[in-house]
């Protein structure tokens, strides 16, 4: 009897002992989101916060903290230099932050290549969608359009604005961009009342309207997702190398659509644990089922690949940067 008790006690203590070794046992990990609650970045973070703990040794509690402002520059500054490198802070920000750093936007106090990269939870592809009742079925039709096609947008720095702007300026499409709509769904309504002829935006935000046959996609940027692989890619149509470089630069961060990083200096072991957990959580059938229900496409991009994208963006020659600056401003 006594032996059995001792055995049970020892067995019970085993996982405890393993967990006690983990730097995460009994701890709380905070995911800092650079936007308010309810948006795409926030929803992704909250989904992960629910599924990550069981894949991290020591099963820490994970909470989400919203730190909105300045298109998430504030949150990135915080995770970069205010948070302790103890592995308990994870940040997820605007995917365009490397562009903010490239364009030397005031207030940027971080270096995207120095974060401890976990990776990206999804890639976000930008597409241009045109109203289905218009005669422009493909990009070729759009190129031949003799009437100006009106594109609704939120504002400079957002993919609703920058993507069609480059199509217009570099590929010579006959577009007119009307910006100032308060959200991408507001533009959708403008499409519905035929105030504008189309809009650009992330595939995930337009997909349900494509399903409803209100609009259809005609061209996409580099990052792809199931369902839009066949679309022509903007940078492949560029008339010259510099135009191609500018378009490539705009879309490069989209491969790292939902970036996740830790404070620079976080111990390697913890970063590795977190990467492992992300891989497992995102491939978890339960998480995938929930993501599918929420119409979110979750796909892990490893940290070193994400870092490579950052280096590609930030290592551009000066003439490309100067050209890029003519068209693109940092925002959203």
């Amino acid at each position: 009897m006594r032996i059995r008790l001792a055995l049970i006690a020892a067995l019970a203590a085993l996982p405890l002992a393993a967990a006690a070794q983990s730097p995460y046992a009994g701890k709380t990990v905070t995911i800092v989101v650079g936007y308010k609650a309810g948006g795409g970045y926030d929803r992704t973070a909250r989904l992960l916060a629910r599924h990550l703990p069981k894949h991290i040794p020591g099963n820490p509690t994970i909470i989400v903290q919203n730190m909105p402002g300045a298109n998430s520059v504030i949150a990135a500054n915080h995770v970069y230099s205010v948070a302790k490198p103890d592995g308990l802070t994870v940040g997820t920000f605007n995917r365009n932050l490397p562009l903010a750093q490239l364009l030397k936007v005031g207030g940027v106090k971080f270096d995207m290549t120095k974060f401890a990269w976990i990776g990206s939870a999804a890639s976000e592809s930008t597409i241009l969608a045109i109203r289905s009742d218009l005669p422009y079925r493909t990009l070729e039709d759009l190129k031949k359009a003799d009437k100006t096609v009106i594109i609704g947008a939120t504002g400079p720095g957002a993919n609703t604005y920058d993507f069609p702007l480059l199509l217009k300026e570099l590929l010579g499409l006959n577009l007119k961009i009307v910006s100032g709509y308060s959200s991408s769904s507001d533009i959708m309504l403008a499409i519905e009342r035929k105030e504008v002829d189309g809009r650009a935006g992330s595939f995930s935000s337009i997909r349900s309207f494509i399903d409803r046959k209100l609009v259809h996609a005609v061209v996409r940027a580099r990052a792809s997702e199931p369902g839009i692989e066949q679309l022509p890619v903007d940078e492949n149509l560029a008339p010259n190398a510099r135009a191609k470089a500018v378009m490539a630069l705009r879309s490069a961060p989209e491969v790292v659509g939902r970036p996740y990083v830790m404070t620079p200096g976080t111990p390697q072991a913890q970063v590795a644990m977190m990467r492992q957990a992300f891989v497992k959580a995102i491939n978890d059938a339960e998480l995938q089922a929930e993501a599918k229900k929420a119409k979110m496409n979750m796909e892990f991009v490893p940290g070193d690949e994400a870092l490579k994208v950052m280096q590609e963006v930030l290592g551009q020659p000066q003439d490309v940067i100067d050209e890029f600056r003519k068209y693109v401003k940092f925002g959203e």
Binding site: K36, A37, G38, D42, R43, R46, R50, Q65, N66, M67, P68, G69, A70, N71, V73, I74, N77, G106, G107, I150, T154, G155, P156, G157, K176, V178, S179, G180, Y181, S182, S183, S185, D186, M188, L189, A190, E192, R193, E195, V196, S208, F209, D211, R212, E290, K293, A294, K295, K329, G331
Partner: protein, 503 residues
Amino acid sequence: MIDAFYEGLLLVLQWKTLAFMSLGIVLGFWVGLLPGLGGATTLALMLPFIYTMQPVQAFAFLLGMHAVVATTGDITSVLFGVPGEGTSAATILDGHAMAKKGEAGRALGAALTSSLVGAIVGAFALALAVPVVRPVVLTFGSPELFMLAIVGLAFIASLSSQGGRGMLRGFLAGGLGLLCATVGQDPQAGVARFTFDALYLWQGLELVPVLVGIFAIPEIVGLVVRRTSIAGAVPAGKLNQGAWEGVKDTFRHFWLTIRCSLIGTFIGIMPGMGGAIAQWMAYGHATQSARNAEERKGFGAGDVRGVLGPGAANNSKEGGALIPTVAFGVPGSSAMAILLGGFFLLGLVPGPDMLTTHLSVTFSMVWTIVLANIITVLVCFAFLNKLAKLTAVRGALLIPVILVLVFIGSYTATNHYGDILVMLLFGGIGYLMVLGGWPRAPFVLGLVLGKIAENYLYISIARYEAAWLTRPVVLVLMALTLGVVLYPLYQSRRAGVKKAAHA
């Protein structure tokens, strides 16, 4: 149609659905009372819990919570002058003034009953509007929405005190509000305006810290200076009654309540107008009901009509805001944007189908709003008069509590110390405005309408050039603007004529 209306009610009346709704109501009740902890944030937090629910249950839970937030937000507005939500600030002007006169119970009774009437009217207006709602919403393009913002701004004429000097001050305060609305990165050229190199200001001024500062701080300073309780000289025994009086007030001014409910529903239906606007337009309309200059002066000093108007609009707009979300998949507010996320989780596709094949689900949402309001109002009445007694508590004891609400409420806007600074700055401005006799309502109207007016004007011109000026609805709205601006003049002229006739 009528079948679906009825069926929607039956869907909500199932016990499980009712249970989830009650749970939502309890949550929403507290969220509404606590300033700053907004309905939208709470919805986002609750979203994961709906995975396992049936659509009707999930919406009963989420909407039950959301509907109540708007109702109970009025309670802190009336009692302490602290807006419980960004959308319940207009109730402060007369509601808190009534509390200071020792009529907190009556003000609360009026706010809650008008909320209830608003929710019901909103629901029925929607039910009637379902067949025409798509064309109506689609008629309102950017030019029309711009003109609607202008109509809203025209209400400054009603919100200012009468006479040339009062009007001048009103429009100047409105101008200041418009100016404050330009802070942040502009959406046409991407230029940072008035951000003073502060990252915090990139996204513009947050509404909640500004509202909390401009309304609550002057009240707190006043309470400190008076060295009494909120209700001052009124004996505590008298505070124990009055809620019933507020109910009667609602029916005394029944048509005003109905009209303000309809204003709320209409603004709610318009996507992109935002929740804060409905109640201010309703308040503006309520002030128009003053029959003479004497009565007009009573507004802001505790006229119950100033509570009824915003109270009614505040809740009727919730039903209205469902429409663009449900029928177009285009959310009318941030809370609705989160609700939209709920749609996908439940496998429903918002769009025209929701007005035809899934109409009963849509109506079940409307019914949820109605039932949640009825339940809340009934529960609240049990202790309204007790709540009103809080206004008899000595200021020195109350102020620390109110200050905590004020600071936390502001800080939860973006969790940045900038929220506190903005609140204090606008608190100072608000105090000076009160001292100098400048009206605060026009300022708020300018602030909430500024961005909408600017962006839709830009889009209208970029898209249609000058042609937008001749669109029929634009012309009608222009006439309406003129009417709203000239009505106070007409009123004072008529009053003058009457006086002359008597003399």
